[in-house]
């Protein structure tokens, strides 16, 4: 093996190893680059597939059918406000459940709990987070409605209703709210708490007046993410809220109703039959596009809030 002298002209070539080795390295890098670029392709595929069919739907649909009577896609009635109202009701009820329970749990875990309690509670919350949503749908239908709501509201409650679905979705989002909020509360530096105790503040004042305000961006982020999750949640509503055929516009949460997501599953199950007929199939993508845009908007906002927490400390 002859050794070349290290001159300024060839030093870079000599130090960077054999050309074969370098081209192999470049090929490997290219392979991994492709894999990460795939994620952009997926987003593009989602947007294209949604926009294409949604556009067909909007251009063919009778404008008056989009804002009247109710959501009965198989009869050509696509009242968007019916399913949007259902979605907002379910998300609202879910937040009434998950907000207080999630925030309270997070604050106890972060400010009060001894390590031994944390060791029990955290895995339990993770377990709850891992429960599939169909299971909560079943729970809402067979426990929350008959054993809880019927006892409170009597016969005003229908077997399928939006309230049970909302509570079910709320239970599903408790762990989400609790874990993100707890992270935000724990990210508050100890020195702030110590300063507060040093001034003679009690644990309660410290938690409410010092720690909570310092972590408020994270708390808001957790609530926004939970709303986004609640809006996108499908199976609980599909199982427990009924109205699979369609629904009139109504704000009564004790009666059956439909959300955007549940309306989509109800359509899709029968989509063999409705394919192409009366725009029903295309309406699926129109609703999907709405859902995609709303959740994207919420996720982007929540990320802003999360970043604010990080910048501060």
């Amino acid at each position: 093996m002859t050794t070349e002298a290290l001159t300024p002209e060839n030093v870079e070539r000599l130090l960077s190893g054999s050309p074969r080795r370098r081209s192999k390295e470049r090929a490997i890098r290219w392979f991994f680059w492709t894999a990460s670029a795939t994620s952009i392709l997926i987003t593009l595929a989602i947007v294209l597939s949604l926009v294409g069919e949604a556009w067909t739907f909007i251009s063919q649909a009778d404008p008056s059918s989009l804002w009247e009577i109710g959501w009965f896609p198989r009869r050509g009635l696509f009242d968007v406000k019916t399913i949007v109202a259902g979605t907002l009701l379910v998300a609202g009820i879910a937040m009434l459940v998950a907000g207080p329970l999630g925030l309270g749990t997070a604050m106890y875990l972060s400010e009060y709990a001894r390590p031994s309690i944390r060791r029990v509670v955290k895995p339990t919350l993770e377990l709850l987070a891992g429960i599939p949503s169909v299971v909560l749908g079943y729970f809402a239908l067979t426990f929350i409605t008959p054993d809880l709501l019927k006892r409170i509201f009597g016969n005003q409650v229908a077997g399928f209703n939006l309230l049970a679905a909302g509570i079910g979705v709320g239970i599903l989002t408790i762990p989400l709210v609790a874990s993100i909020t707890e992270d935000a509360l724990r990210a508050v530096p100890r020195s702030l708490r110590e300063a507060s105790y040093g001034l003679g503040a009690s644990r309660m004042s410290t938690s409410i007046r010092v720690v909570f305000p310092a972590a408020v961006s994270g708390v808001v982020a957790s609530l926004i993410i939970a709303v986004s999750r609640a809006i996108g949640e499908t199976m609980v509503v599909a199982i427990a809220a009924g109205a699979t055929g369609g629904s009139l516009f109504s704000l009564n949460v004790l009666q059956p109703g439909q959300t955007m997501t549940a309306a989509m599953t109800a359509l899709a199950i029968g989509s063999d039959r409705v394919r192409g007929a009366d725009n029903a199939f295309q309406s699926l993508f129109f609703v999907g596009l709405l859902l995609f845009l709303v959740t994207l908007f919420l996720n982007v906002i929540s990320e802003r809030f999360v970043r604010r927490v990080r910048q501060k400390y």
């Binding site: 009690s202 996108g232 699926l284 994207l296 982007v300």
Partner: protein, 314 residues
């Protein structure tokens, strides 16, 4: 005894430092927090008890094996979950086959290769957004792409509504989660390991292959298996790409035919059974949920076991 003797300075200080009255509001506040925590925990317990109690009649009348291996049927007395069990299993294999290699590769690029440039930032933001897209929207993607456009390949006989379409859809669904958890596992590898490898003349790929990946493996494995658990419980996207409960390819079909045939899965079956009015199906649904939850527990336990095992070897 003299009442007049003034308290000493020590007593005065001690008295004013210790609160004279109990902090009632503080106690109430703490009690409310404990209550929210207990309610959150109790929900899980009530849910598990409800399902377990509802399923009792099934376990009383038939064996677990009978329930697992019987065919789907309209008769609650004989209906089993065989097709759903097989369907879920095949779906999981598909999901893993797609999401794991693609996700881990993407994570390696983002964490080991990518500079902090525009492309990397776009990809990162994009992946975070993908992780927040509702699962039913992935169902629409699957419906448009794998069922309608690629239907001729994924399932010509059934208009594309095949296991392949379902598995591909679930694979895309968990891909962002796999990427995010893998990136975190890679990030946890100390830089000194990378520098050590470069120091002895390793190329970038040799460094990743022999030094970074072995250290990050437990974290990557745990994250990916947990994401599989997520896919296992998903029903909404499968309903959109055509997961059904009524008919399934018979056992004598070739494997390829079976993959291109219609399919069912456990969460889809929960949805269908829960909406059936016959009384017998209530208990069957509960029994199916018990099977699902046990399977999920096994998946998660595997993840934890593998993590512990690999960590010991290092």
């Amino acid at each position: 005894m003299a009442v007049t003797s003034a308290p000493t300075a020590e007593v005065l200080v001690r008295r004013s430092l210790s609160a004279k009255k109990r902090d009632v509001r503080g106690r109430v506040f703490e009690a409310v927090l404990i209550l929210t925590l207990l309610v959150s925990m109790a929900v899980l317990v009530v849910l598990l008890l409800d399902v377990a109690l509802d399923s009792r009649s099934v376990w009383g009348e038939r064996t677990l094996g009978n329930f697992l291996t019987s065919q789907l049927s309209a008769d609650p007395a004989t209906a089993g979950i065989r097709q759903a069990l097989v369907g879920s299993l095949i779906l999981m294999i598909f999901t893993a086959a797609i999401a794991f290699p693609l996700g881990i590769s993407a994570a390696i690029f983002l964490e080991e290769y990518a500079e902090d440039n525009r492309f990397a930032r776009i990809v990162n933001a994009n992946i975070r957004n993908l992780a927040g897209v509702p699962s039913i929207v992935y169902g629409l993607l699957g419906l448009a792409l794998f069922v309608k456009i690629l239907g001729g390949i994924t399932g010509p006989e059934v208009e594309g509504r095949s296991v392949i379409s379902g598995g591909l859809t679930l694979g895309l669904l968990v891909l962002p989660i796999v990427i995010i958890t893998s990136v975190e596992a890679l990030r946890a590898v100390p830089n000194s390991i990378r520098e050590g490898a470069f120091g002895v003349g390793a190329t970038k790929w040799q460094m990743i292959r022999h030094h970074v990946l072995p250290v990050a493996a437990p974290g990557i494995l745990t994250g990916t298996i947990l994401s599989l658990g997520r896919a296992f419980g998903e029903a909404a996207p499968l309903l959109l790409v055509g997961g059904i409960t009524t008919f399934f390819q018979s056992g004598d079909a070739t494997p390829v035919e079976q993959l291109r045939g219609r399919f069912s899965a456990m969460p889809v079956l929960v949805f269908r059974w829960a909406s059936l009015p016959q009384a017998g199906f209530r208990a069957l649904t509960a029994a199916l949920i018990v099977v699902m939850l046990v399977a999920l527990l096994l998946i998660n336990a595997t993840a934890i076991y593998l993590r512990n095992r690999f960590e010991k070897e290092l």
